[in-house]
């Protein structure tokens, strides 16, 4: 199943946020969206996921979702969005409660999601008892439970410390390794974009327009090798050169606002 951003424009009141953004995410592809602060990255993701109606243009799907997918477009949120009154297991079960799954099927799906995210021993814990990294793992387990075709990830690591970020990045690489699931990954962090994405959509400062779409010419497995570090650093530098001036302008704009 492909996800298509078709000439999407949006404004909040008098503020133009997005201007004629078009690109496609093919089945199993990981596309990162980067750009200066306030360029509309998160707004674009909400439009792609059907949580916000665009002023112009549309988010479209092409092709059938994979068999058994309960929610083809599934978000992983920056602030985890866990229900604090539910345990880990109940949070993962939450999106399954209103599906046609039988209790035993639901139990198996939950067990599988908890196992894949290393949460099997924490199923009875409440979110307040978990670290930030573990909370985000619950968010990921909840997303995996509905067998998405495309994960929509809105800066999923930005609320975490650098060591936890590194560990979760390894988890993401593992989860996306078989190409069964695609992803749109919004981030400020160019290193994350280069580590994870097949292509990087670079947005201009507000109103966000597509400045460039950069392909990452390595498989994700190759990027983990020590000798790939120089090439990845060069790619990051290229991306930074595309963003730097606009990031400075955007920062000044925010400070003067």
């Amino acid at each position: 199943m492909d996800l298509i951003a078709d000439h999407i424009s949006h404004r909040f009141g008098a503020l133009d946020v997005l201007d004629d953004v078009s690109f496609q995410v093919a089945a199993g592809e990981v596309v990162a969206i980067v750009g200066p602060s306030g360029c509309g990255k998160s707004t674009l993701l909400q439009i792609l996921g059907g949580l916000l109606q665009p002023g112009r243009g549309a988010a479209q799907l092409r092709g059938a979702p994979p068999a058994g997918s309960l929610n083809p477009l599934t978000f992983v949120f920056q602030d985890f969005a866990l229900l604090p009154w539910n345990t880990v297991e109940e949070n993962v079960a939450f999106p399954l409660l209103h599906t046609a799954l039988s209790p035993s099927e639901r139990g198996a799906v939950i067990d599988d999601a908890l196992r894949r995210t290393g949460l099997a021993d924490f199923r009875a814990a409440y979110p307040k008892q978990l670290s930030g990294g573990m909370r985000q793992r619950v968010g990921i387990a909840r997303a995996l439970a509905v067998r998405p075709a495309i994960l929509l990830m809105d800066e999923p690591l930005s609320a975490l410390d650098s060591q936890t970020r590194e560990l979760l990045m390894e988890d993401f690489v593992g989860l996306l390794a078989d190409g069964a699931m695609g992803a749109v990954y919004v981030t400020h962090n160019l290193e994350e974009a280069v580590r994870l994405a097949d292509r990087v959509v670079v947005l201009s400062r507000r109103p966000g327009r597509i400045r460039e779409i950069v392909s990452i010419p390595m498989t994700r497995a190759e990027r983990g090798a020590v000798d790939a570090r120089g090439k990845m650093a060069a790619l990051q530098a290229d991306l930074w050169s595309l963003i730097r001036k606009e990031a400075i302008d955007a920062e000044r704009e925010v400070q003067h606002a």
Partner: protein
């Protein structure tokens, strides 16, 4: 292999001095026992003042006299008689006001049209002291129990409705968006996200409405009732039986404390996740 940085050498020439602690205060803790000790001390001084004849027993009877009055009330059956009337009025009025307040509060919290209409009416009517409506309610509903119960229900309704829609408004929007992103149906979002998210505010509202109901039942019983703790306190005052009057006040205080404890238990059970 990582190189280890050498430890900085200690400067032996200058004397060491501790860093001054500047983080004290602004963290009130306080033990519960200190509160009980203070209460016992006040009662002891009060008893001493009464026993020593420092104060006229007519104006301020000693705690022991109040205890005797409560015992006599309990053994004669008068206490249960008055208390049962008050509990009947409070219970009925509180339940009616709470059910209506929860329904209207959720409607205001979830519907734009209900919010527009409801908040206007609540803003206009909430500040009215509800006891001022009792004569009008007597005209409408007769001189039986109905106007007293309606007064309590009205007082409870407004506070409940406000606490419920405030609670609904306070539910983090990201949780609602999360549920929508999984195509969770509206009724399930209300039941599984909005209701538990609003519950802390709703229970805080219950604490307030319990006090409102107690205040209104006493006021209503003082205006137009033969039985009930409010009526008993008023009769005792008219007869200058201040020990009986204060016995009634102590019973009201104990009732308020019991309701507070009950809400504490509810919070501990329902909000254990906080």
């Amino acid at each position: 292999m990582l190189d280890r940085a050498p430890q900085a050498k200690e400067q032996a020439t200058e004397a060491k001095r501790p860093v001054e602690f500047r983080g004290a205060g602004f963290a009130p803790g306080g033990s519960r026992s200190s509160g009980w000790v203070a209460l016992a001390l006040v009662i002891a001084v009060w008893q001493l003042a009464g026993s020593a004849g420092w104060v006229n027993a007519l104006f301020l009877p000693a705690p022991s006299a109040i205890a005797v009055a409560i015992t006599k009330l309990a053994t004669s059956g008068a206490l249960w008689h008055h208390l049962s009337w008050s509990l009947l009025r409070i219970g009925t009025g509180w339940i009616i006001g709470t059910v209506a307040g929860v329904i209207v509060g959720f409607a205001i919290g979830l519907s734009g049209m209900a919010r527009g209409v409801g908040i206007t009416f609540i803003s206009a009517l909430f500040p009215i002291p509800k006891i001022a409506l009792l004569p009008l309610l007597i005209l409408w509903l007769g001189i039986g129990e109905e106007p007293k119960i309606a007064t309590i229900a009205l007082g409870v309704f407004f506070s409940t409705a406000i606490s419920v829609y405030s609670g609904v408004d306070a539910v983090p929007r990201n949780l609602i968006r999360m549920a929508q992103s999984f195509n969770v149906p509206f009724h399930a979002i209300v039941r599984r996200v909005i209701w538990p998210g609003a519950l802390p505010s709703i229970l805080a509202g219950f604490r307030i409405t319990a006090s409102v109901a107690l205040l209104l039942v006493v006021s209503a019983e003082m205006i137009g009732a033969e039985y009930g703790i409010g009526a008993f306190v008023l009769q005792a005052g008219n007869l200058m039986q201040t020990d009986q009057l204060l016995a009634g006040v102590v019973i009201l205080s104990l009732f308020g404390l019991a309701v507070g404890k009950l809400i504490n238990l509810l919070e501990a059970r329902l909000l254990h996740w906080r």
